[in-house]
Symmetry: C2
Subunit: 102 residues, 2 copies
């Protein structure tokens, strides 16, 4: 357990399938280290990152757009409350614009 998680643990805690986690890694959305045996090892912070991805998807962003949003995060690679708030705000702004067009 220590301070790292296996892909199975991350899948359980995040509710995202292991196959999806591997897919996100190929797409560059998350990263992992490897054990000597080649097994993926995740930092605990990856959970927050995954929660952010799931949330962003839920509100209609593509994985490409989510990648861009994550790239905007400065130094710290973990999305914080303010990042969620920013995404949420820009999203509701989009909605308001769309309604205004009507």
């Amino acid at each position: 357990m220590a301070n790292s998680l296996t892909i199975g643990e991350v899948a359980n805690r995040s509710g995202v399938a292991a196959s999806a986690l591997r897919f996100y890694e190929v797409r560059g959305l998350i990263r992992s280290a490897r054990t000597a045996a080649g097994h993926r090892v995740y930092e605990r912070s990856v959970i927050r990152r995954i929660a952010f991805i799931v949330f962003a998807q839920r509100v209609g962003l593509t994985l490409g757009e989510i990648e861009e949003e994550l790239a905007k995060l400065p130094e710290n690679r973990v999305p914080r409350r303010t990042d969620w708030a920013r995404l949420s705000a820009s999203w509701t702004a989009r909605i308001d614009d769309r309604i205004a067009e009507l």
Copy 2:
């Protein structure tokens, strides 16, 4: 022109491809009458309905969910501002819940 629109006119005004409009019709999201020649004829109100569909998709609803939302509209089959507002409100509530979970 009169009070009806061809599929091409609807496509131009809504920004949605004619092929997509036919697809929406098969899915039961919109309806059309036919000319003697078998060409689709739309009421002008379909534009609002399509705008609602596009908007709902943008915020992450599937066509199935959109169908349910449209089914909730009572007598008048055209979504009004209040319908948009309701969808928007329930959706931002879901977002806030999601953020609260974090």
